[in-house]
């Protein structure tokens, strides 16, 4: 199905055509945010609260010789200084990561990346805590670092993880997907094969709110309350129980308002654990909030994939196969967050939107002396890297074949009638109809006109580029049988209660970092049971108040929790039918539903509204056998498959031939995320993601020098885009519902971040065609673009 939305794209007042259910309603959470009344972790102040600060390693690789805390302890406002040795005594020096590795909470033996946690000071105020860090004397014996992932496996390379028994190298894992023999055979007989090394450099999600926690351990009843910047409060509760030995029913994790996550707040950082230890040690609540440099230097980065891509095709442009070997830099600890089975996340969806005869990938993960992480920054578990690879390779092939890149894509799309489509690496794409989406983007862009303009400009020596990216996402992890994180299945719970007066509370397991859950989930319930969304409160982010679930990342909230919410609402609706039947003294099967009301078939004037039924449920009406006196329900939703949103993006850039400066002139984004709930919220997600994409393509990179010093430790060095770097976004959409999701929604939170970088880079490379440039790696800074124009493209790492 392809429809064009006839509503204006401006969410101005009055564009509120369907106030119940789906529609462009204003966000319920905004009044508190626009008034500055959001409540973030750093806004939490508890009586007697102390403050923690972390001493971090100044070097990337060094043996810890000695640490002297006496001077810091003598500071009049310091209550405790915790070192790795102290944690060792508690059995807490190491904590499990989300990838079944371990990570040092505080260094005991060796520093493994610059910025690693060495000691924790607890003091009466933040200033004293920070000052006391300078009073700790640490002696390091500096070791040669492994900075270049390409050299991590060299014989003789320093072994970073000598803490792991029997470790003699820096290898973490080898992983593959697809059929190698079949792929090699297709390559061997193909007319055309092109190869390219493609580097997706290390970037950082850099949420506006850095990470932090307030830990409050009550020594009397042994209860821990932990306010945390976490995208996954329930999973954190379980992990804290496993690490600390505090029984899980005594732990409450609260994730209040969160100022952006992008996957940066999925893992458990040493700082959170240290706040807990600090509270246990001092008997007082302890707050720890990292500063910007700490966030950029020590928390989960993203990408860092060095990909050798190869694409095979016939000479008339039928793409046959794709293969790639990837070297993945995971930093000093393997702490990536993804379903256990998939150490490279969902990278194996690198076949993209194309119908291929064969595909094969291998991924090798290695340790380096850099901060851990890898899966973050709205990447959908590495679909970002996958989409970037395939969309660059297709463009490179188009150049080789001298074909228009739009035409090449149109020729090779998986066709509508092939869905559900089993690709060559094990995915089953739920639904898709790519051509209309592609054609709509070309129409909005005025594609042919742009190509004409480009031709004219080229004749005058002006550099204009047009870049296309067509992405297929895989989001909504995931089916329990295939997907877990540390043994926790990726299903989500939801509970719905209708109060006697007909107002509702829905409790969900996912947590919002800005996605608008309080609005979207109320709208889903509203659509199902006919209560206005204003009358439905969405409760989230507090493990004591919500059912278990795995949290918000990988665009999974709508595909998983959104489904749970729709189903729990349907359960309540069915229950309401029985209660209405009792109230109307008729049989449930004689009732018919219209939004918000059950009525007698053939006699619409006789019926009961949800509010009346709610009062009846809690009142004195005699209820049928098996129906409790409430209007509540709960479900846990185990998704049968992932969902596969897609989109067509077109970027137009102008490059200054004298300076290499790139200006993004236009960006057209047509997204298909299945059924659309709140179009305004969707557009917000797209706008943000496109901005991320322009940032990554043009300026963002976390670099290291030869000693392993992080060169991206502040916003002066790690550049993120502003309103000045981005054009007015031109958004459009098509709707191809998911066949297995209760309301057909697919998720959209990461689509634009995943889909946009290749569009921008393809545009820059297209602009540089007169210089013979076939590929350049991100970021396309003025200097790197100029170097490419001189024939000197070099990888960023």
């Amino acid at each position: 199905m392809t429809i064009l939305e006839d509503r204006p794209s401006n969410p101005a007042a009055g564009d509120h055509d369907r106030p119940i259910g789906h529609g462009r309603m204003q966000r319920k959470e905004d009044p508190r945010f626009v008034r500055g009344k959001g409540r973030y972790v750093d806004d939490i102040v508890l009586p007697g609260m102390l403050h923690g600060a972390i001493l971090r390693a100044p070097v990337a690789h060094a043996r810890l010789v000695s640490i002297d805390t006496s001077e810091a302890l003598a500071h009049p406002k310091v209550l405790a200084v915790i070192t790795g040795t102290d944690l060792q005594a508690l059995g807490l020096a190491w904590a499990p990561t989300l990838s079944m590795d371990v990570q040092a909470v505080l260094v005991t033996d060796k520093v493994r990346f610059q910025g690693q946690e060495v000691a924790f000071v607890v003091a009466e105020d933040r200033y004293a805590a920070r000052d006391a860090l300078e009073l700790i004397q640490v002696e390091y014996d500096v070791l040669p670092p492994v900075v270049d992932a390409r050299k991590a496996m060299d014989p003789g390379a320093p072994v970073i993880r000598d803490d792991l028994p029997g470790r003699t190298d820096n290898h973490i894992f080898d992983w593959e997907a697809g059929d190698k023999a079949e792929t090699d055979a297709v390559f061997a007989s193909a007319d055309v094969v092109v190869k390219q090394e493609i580097v997706y450099p290390r970037v950082h999600p850099a949420p506006m709110e850095t990470c932090g926690a307030v830990a409050d351990f009550d020594p009397i009843d042994g209860r821990l309350t932990l306010y945390e910047t976490t995208q996954a409060p329930h999973a954190h509760r379980t992990l804290f129980a496993m690490v600390s030995g505090i029984p899980e029913h005594k732990i409450r994790v609260v994730s209040p308002d969160i100022g952006g996550g992008f996957g940066n707040k999925v893992g458990i950082y040493p700082g959170y654990i240290l706040a807990v230890v600090g509270s246990i040690v001092t008997g007082k609540p302890v707050k720890w909030v990292e500063d910007r440099s700490e966030n950029l230097m020590s928390t989960s980065f993203a990408r860092d994939y060095i990909m050798q891509g190869e694409i095979a095709a016939t000479k008339d442009g039928k793409i046959l196969a794709l293969r790639t070997n990837v070297l993945a830099d995971h930093g000093a600890f393997n702490a990536t967050a993804q379903p256990t089975k998939y150490p490279a996340g969902f990278f194996h969806i690198f076949t993209g939107s194309y119908d291929l005869a064969a595909a094969h990938c291998t991924v090798t993960g290695v340790y380096t002396n850099k901060a851990p992480g890898g899966v973050a920054y709205a990447c959908s578990f590495r679909v970002t890297e996958a989409v970037y690879l395939v969309e660059r390779m297709v463009d490179i092939l188009a150049r080789k074949l001298d074909m228009d890149p739009a035409e090449l894509r149109l020729k090779n799309f998986i066709r509508k009638e092939q869905f559900p489509y089993a690709n060559k690496t094990g995915w089953e794409y739920d639904s898709g109809d790519y051509e209309p989406t592609m054609r709509l983007s070309m129409k909005m862009a005025g594609y042919d006109e742009l190509r004409r303009e480009q031709k004219e400009k080229r004749e005058r020596g002006e550099l204009m580029g047009i870049g296309i990216s067509f992405f297929t996402e895989t989001v909504g992890a995931g089916p329990r049988k295939d997907m877990d994180i540390l043994g926790l299945g990726m299903a989500d719970g939801a509970e719905l209660r209708i109060h006697p007066t007909g107002k509702a509370v829905v409790r969900i397991s996912v947590q919002s970092q800005g996605q608008g859950h309080e609005t979207t989930f109320a709208q889903i319930v509203a659509e199902e049971i006919g209560i206005p969304p204003e009358d439905i409160d969405v409760v989230h982010g507090d493990t004591d108040q919500t059912p278990f679930g795995l949290g918000t990342y990988g665009s999974r909230s709508t595909p998983v929790s959104g489904a749970a919410v729709a189903l729990v609402a349907r359960k309540v609706r069915e229950k309401a039918r029985f209660i209405a039947a009792a109230m109307l003294e008729t049989r449930p099967e004689d009732l018919e539903w219209e939004k918000g009301r059950w009525f007698v078939k053939g006699d619409p004037s006789v019926g009961k509204t949800m509010a009346e039924i709610a009062m009846g449920a809690h009142g004195t009406v005699a209820l049928p056998e098996g129906i409790d006196g409430n209007l509540d329900a709960e479900v846990t939703y185990d998704p049968p498959n992932l969902t596969f949103p897609f989109g067509a993006y077109i970027c137009v850039v102008d490059v200054d031939p004298g300076t290499g400066h790139v200006k993004v002139r236009r960006f057209i984004a047509v997204d298909d995320c299945g059924t659309r709930i709140n179009p305004m919220i969707i557009e917000g997600q797209i706008h943000g993601g496109l901005t991320d994409g322009v940032g990554m393509a043009l300026m963002e990179i976390i670099e290291f020098d030869d000693e392993g010093n992080c060169l991206g430790g502040s916003f002066m060095d790690y550049l993120i885009p502003t309103a000045m770097e981005v054009p007015d976004w031109e958004t459009g959409f098509t709707v191809t519902p998911s066949p297995h999701h209760p309301i057909g929604a697919k998720g959209v939170g990461e689509s634009a971040t995943v889909g946009s970088p290749p569009a921008v880079v393809n545009a820059v490379v297209d602009a540089l065609t007169p210089f013979g440039v076939v590929h350049m790696d991100m970021p396309c800074t003025p200097a790197r673009v100029w170097e490419a124009m001189q024939g000197g493209t070099r990888p960023p790492v």
Binding site: R126, Y127, R130, D131, E134, V289, D291, R292, S293, G658, T659, G660, H661, L698, M699, E703, L711, S714, M716, D717, L719, P721, T722, M724, E725, T781, P782, A783, W786, E787
Partner: protein
């Protein structure tokens, strides 16, 4: 939250009071103007003054005055004031050009010309502009006032002639008839410090020949004007050929370092490219103020 090392703070009530406070608190005291260079360094604990002497109440240093043959700019004049001034735009478009690309509105609302020149960051834009415009710095201390040319004032990266117990009070820019000026910068992102930048000021004689020309560069390791260009430009009618020669001289004169903003050859290339561009614009602006002069193409 980044937290500076402990310090004491005092607000000065006048220039004399500020000088007295600097004297009293000695070597470890610093004045704070807009704070947009000093405070970030303090938060990173790269600067650790014991005393901060706040001069933001010294409104007597916040002025722009066309005074006969000079424009007088008080040291506490904010970037925004310079950016928005019509007098500045008319007389010295190079300042307006530069202010457009200095930081962002938040920084420009607080940052001052005095702080910029005293900070003397190698990528700082107004030092180049003042060099190009032959500005004079007025510095006051316990011994009274001194007038310094930019060559005397600006000693190198992060180094000026202003002593610990002195204040920069004013910047004086000579106004010359028949002049035009321009500034252009390449940055990785709006608000970023320069990868490289260039400024030029050109005065045309009535016959359309160049009677005076200065070119300055930012962030490429040259703390003076590209004096080499004068011999090539002066006495000539402006042409693209001439600009290209000047560009080459600028590229030869500079001494950039490789860093995250770019490699040496790129920065050298920018010295050339931007020199040509600013000369082109400066000449056409000068021509606009000299009747009957047009710039020839090619």
């Amino acid at each position: 939250m980044q937290i500076p090392a402990p310090f004491d703070y005092v607000r000065a009530s006048s220039v004399d009071n500020a000088l007295a406070l600097l004297d009293r608190h000695g070597a470890e005291s610093r004045v704070v103007a807009g704070g947009h260079s000093l405070l970030p360094m303090m938060k990173l604990r790269l600067a650790r003054p014991d005393w901060l002497i706040d001069i933001n109440d010294l409104y007597e240093l916040d002025y722009l005055l066309v005074d006969g043959p000079v424009l007088r700019i008080g040291a506490m004049t904010r970037h925004t004031t310079l950016l928005e001034s019509d007098d500045v735009r008319r007389l010295f478009p190079i300042i307006t050009d530069a202010e457009h690309v200095i930081a962002d509105p938040i920084v420009r609302n607080r940052g001052t010309i005095g702080g910029s020149l005293c900070q003397a960051d190698p990528a700082e834009d107004l030092s180049t502009v003042c060099h190009v415009l032959d500005a004079v710095a007025v510095v006051r201390g316990p011994a009274g006032e001194r007038m310094l040319s930019m060559a005397e004032f600006h000693r190198g990266p992060y180094e000026t002639a202003v002593a610990q117990n002195e204040l920069l009070i004013e910047v004086r820019v000579p106004i010359r008839a028949g002049s035009g000026s321009a500034y252009e910068k390449v940055e990785r992102r709006v608000g970023d410090w320069a990868v490289a930048a260039a400024g030029a000021s050109v005065t045309l004689a009535a016959d359309g020949t160049i009677s005076k020309a200065t070119v300055g560069l930012t962030a490429v390791g040259l703390d003076r004007n590209v004096t080499e260009v004068e011999a090539v430009l002066v006495g000539q009618v402006p042409t693209e050929q001439l600009f290209a020669e000047a560009g080459q001289l600028a590229a030869d004169a500079c001494d950039p370092l490789a860093d995250q903003r770019g490699p040496i050859d790129y920065k050298r290339h920018l010295a050339d490219e931007l020199t040509r561009r600013v000369l082109r614009v400066a000449c056409s602006r000068a021509a606009a103020s000299v009747p009957d002069v047009t710039i020839q193409e090619g």
